[in-house]
């Protein structure tokens, strides 16, 4: 019998001494400069954290390099954040500046703290997944290239969490991000009947369709799709490779805005549709980077200090959002899915 189920290494082995000694005793923190946190303990001890942006898709060279840096400045400890940034954990104040200098020399951006745009939580895209409607890494790289200035500063009204998912499975917390970029298909899958008969189970595929668009076809031992009912979710494709939904001409991305998960001030909110479609335009997706920048800028210019994206929109109203961003409002924006009715404006109170 092979050894199994021994679980991950215990986290206690992974903590630098300053944390082991002050675990649960932290008293407050400061952000001396963008990308640098100072946590102070009841005991008076201080922990300095230096956060760098990461492409998340890392070669072992990158990993070995940050290990070198951690050995040099942090006694051999480091961590990653829930948004995939790297954090160097320093117990010696005097190590901070040399580390920052070395990071600068290597071209690694320091930031992501406070009222910034931190890393884009994202997914596999064309690098590894089989269902993407867009790429992940290249879009993220292009958008972050454009927004690095917001990563390395803290000048925004509040945090702005950008996320990307390469299909509507929405791996990540994309459905509740300030700005969410989502890969979408726009045409029903094409059924390869021959392949279907060989590799797929009819009932599973039929059941997978949320709009009941799929009907069994006993003749072909396959299925037919009622194209009028299909909303291109790709759920059937996840169940059967014979239902290819990829279409380079029509696939692209949609942008949703205004989500959050923190309970700070207001409760969590879903992201909501702002831009139904932008084309896939590799390698730089200029339509997407422009749109995201504009979305950030309109918010930054209009929100009250402390207001997250969705909080700002809730204050001014979505009709104002569309006016200020100059984005067209279309029939696609109006929900017609499970919880549509409560989103309809059932009052005469609105702005023109």
């Amino acid at each position: 019998m092979p050894r199994t189920d021994f679980g991950p290494p215990k986290y206690t082995e992974m903590l630098p001494p300053v944390i082991q000694e002050n675990y649960g005793k932290w008293k407050y923190h400061e952000i001396p400069q963008p990308g640098v946190l100072k946590h102070v303990s009841e005991t008076g001890a201080a922990l300095y954290t230096v956060r760098i942006g990461s492409p998340r898709l890392l070669s072992i060279d990158f990993l070995r390099n940050i290990c070198d840096l951690a050995d040099k400045y942090c006694g051999g400890y480091l961590r990653f954040t829930s948004r995939h940034n790297v954090e160097f954990l320093l117990s010696e104040a005097q190590n901070v500046d040399p580390l920052l200098a070395e990071l600068a020399a290597q071209g690694l951006p320091v930031g992501g703290t406070g009222n910034s745009i931190s890393n884009i939580v994202h997914t596999q895209g064309w690098v590894h997944c089989h269902t993407p409607a867009t790429d992940a890494s290249a879009v993220v790289k292009s958008v972050m290239d454009d927004l690095t200035g917001y990563f390395t500063s803290m000048t925004l009204p509040a945090k702005c969490r950008v996320a990307l998912a390469c299909c509507i499975n929405m791996c990540g917390a994309v459905h509740c991000s300030d700005i969410a970029i989502v890969g979408i298909h726009r045409k029903p899958p094409k059924v390869d009947h021959e392949m279907f008969a060989k590799v797929s189970e009819i009932p599973n595929v039929v059941a997978a369709c949320p709009t009941l668009a799929i009907k069994p076809n006993p003749k072909t031992k396959s299925v037919d799709i009622n194209e009028e009912r299909c909303m291109y979710c790709g759920n059937c494709y996840t169940m059967s490779p014979a239902l290819d939904i990829v279409d380079p001409e029509n696939d692209g991305v949609a942008i949703f805005v205004g989500g959050k998960v923190s309970n700070a001030r207001s409760g969590p909110m879903f992201s909501r549709l702002a831009i139904p479609y932008l084309p896939n335009n590799p390698p730089r997706w200029p339509e997407v980077t422009d749109a995201v920048r504009k979305l950030v800028e309109v918010w930054a210019a209009n929100a009250h200090p402390g207001e997250r994206y969705g909080e700002w929109i809730n204050r001014i109203g979505w009709e104002r959002f569309f006016k200020l961003t100059d984005l067209p409002f279309t029939d696609k924006h109006i929900d017609d899915f499970t919880y549509a009715a409560p989103t309809f404006r059932s009052t005469t109170n609105f702005k023109f």
Partner: protein, 406 residues
């Protein structure tokens, strides 16, 4: 009282609020069927259950509705109410009456009915409670002579109703009574001959206070509003201030968009009109000082209804602003388009709102030729499951006209 035959109804005559039991007893004094009702109702209070059966179809010549058939479930015990039908009579717009007309109704119901009525039914009709099948036609004939026609019932247009509006209210943004009357007259056929999948209700309130509760219970609501800025009379503001009204606390604070500023020193009130959502609050609070704007009209909303079967629905915006002026052609045309689509698409017993929810606003809007507007929603969708029209997709140009952002 110890041996009264109606101890429960007797008990219900007591107390400060005018008593329906007294009304029934008054009618019962001269009318056998009112007495039958009284005795059957007394039994209901004892047994804790009603004693009416499902109605059969009864009516008057030339009409498909307007009468609710009603039969006692125990005609052996209460033969006087073996048949006890209701006639729905279309009220005059705004429920205004001259006493002549009202007395005529009384006389007719004295002659043919139980002498009992509802002024009015929840939809707005005059409800003449309790008569026999045989009496329906003669009662109607005399009502017709007195100038009163039937209201709606069944899968038809229901009797439209409206607030007093310009007849008695300074807030009115359009002539709700004229519109109500005109629509009622224009759609008599739809009102009197059930031919749709289900009922359809129209109500209109001449401002956002919505004094006929249109938004909650009509398939088609017309609610008055304005498009420019509300009008502030600073002299009157000063008077309110002088009288001690806490303008900042009671007027500005509750403003939902905080777009009113009160300058305490000069007792001057200003509005940021662009941010005003025309909620009526400040106008309600200071009717002498603030009035709706000059460019008046209405918001059109659809879909309101009671909870059965899928959920209650509150009407939602489909036209943010429409001028409402005689002969009201725009409203009528819109109604016709809506009915055409609904009639074609609704399932049996499916109200307009339910059909729209099932088919999606996009199909509805396309059919009735309205453009999508952000005023139609509180929030856009939170899911990525939307449809593309065939002409928005093509193999050479991936970005459709509507959504490209160049």
């Amino acid at each position: 009282m110890a041996d009264s035959k109606t101890p429960n109804l007797d008990e219900l005559e007591k107390g400060p609020w005018p008593s329906f039991a007294t009304e029934i007893k008054k009618a019962a004094a001269t009318k056998a069927n009112a007495k039958g009702l009284m005795m059957q109702l007394e039994r209901s209070y004892k047994e804790k259950r009603g004693h009416w059966k499902h109605g059969g179809i009864v009516g008057v010549k030339g009409y498909g509705g307007g009468v609710i058939g009603r039969y006692s479930d125990s005609p052996q015990e209460n033969p006087e109410v073996a048949e006890f039908h209701t006639i729905r009579v279309n009220q005059p717009a705004g429920w205004f009456y001259n006493t002549d007309s009202l007395r005529k109704i009384c006389d007719i119901w004295d002659k043919y009915g139980s002498g009992l009525t509802n002024f009015h039914g929840a939809t707005g009709d005059v409800i003449l409670l309790g008569t026999t099948t045989a009496n329906l036609q003669p009662a109607f004939d005399e009502l017709a002579d007195a100038g009163f026609d039937l209201g709606g019932s069944g899968s038809a247009l229901r009797t439209p109703s409206c607030c007093a509006g310009q007849a008695r209210c300074e807030f009115a943004c359009f002539d709700s009574m004229a519109l109500c009357h005109e629509l009622t007259m224009a759609f008599q056929n739809q009102l009197h001959r059930p031919m749709w999948p289900y009922k359809f209700k129209i109500k209109m309130s001449a401002c956002g206070n919505d004094c006929v509760a249109a938004i909650g219970r009509s398939d088609f609501s017309v609610i008055g509003t304005w498009r420019d800025s509300l009008v502030i009379d600073q002299a009157a503001v000063k008077e309110y201030a002088a009288e001690g009204l806490d303008i900042r606390g009671r007027v500005c604070e509750p403003c939902p968009t905080k777009c009113l500023k009160f300058d305490e020193k000069n007792a001057e009130l200003t509005v940021n009109a662009e941010e005003c959502v025309r909620c009526m609050h400040c106008i309600n609070a200071m009717p002498k000082a603030i009035a709706p704007g000059k460019e008046r009209g209405a918001t059109i909303l659809v879909g309101g209804k009671a909870p059965i079967v899928h959920s209650p629905l509150m009407s939602w915006v489909i036209v943010p602003f429409m001028k409402i002026e005689e002969p009201f052609t725009e409203v009528k045309d819109l109604l016709l388009k809506i009915w055409e689509w609904w009639d074609e698409n609704a399932k049996n017993r499916e109200r307009l709102g339910e059909t729209i929810v099932r088919k999606g606003m996009r199909n509805f809007l396309k059919a009735v030729e309205l453009e999508a507007k952000p005023q139609m929603v509180f929030q856009p969708r939170a899911n990525p499951f939307y449809f593309w029209w065939p002409d928005e997709i093509n193999s050479s140009d991936p970005a459709s006209e509507e959504t490209s952002n160049d």
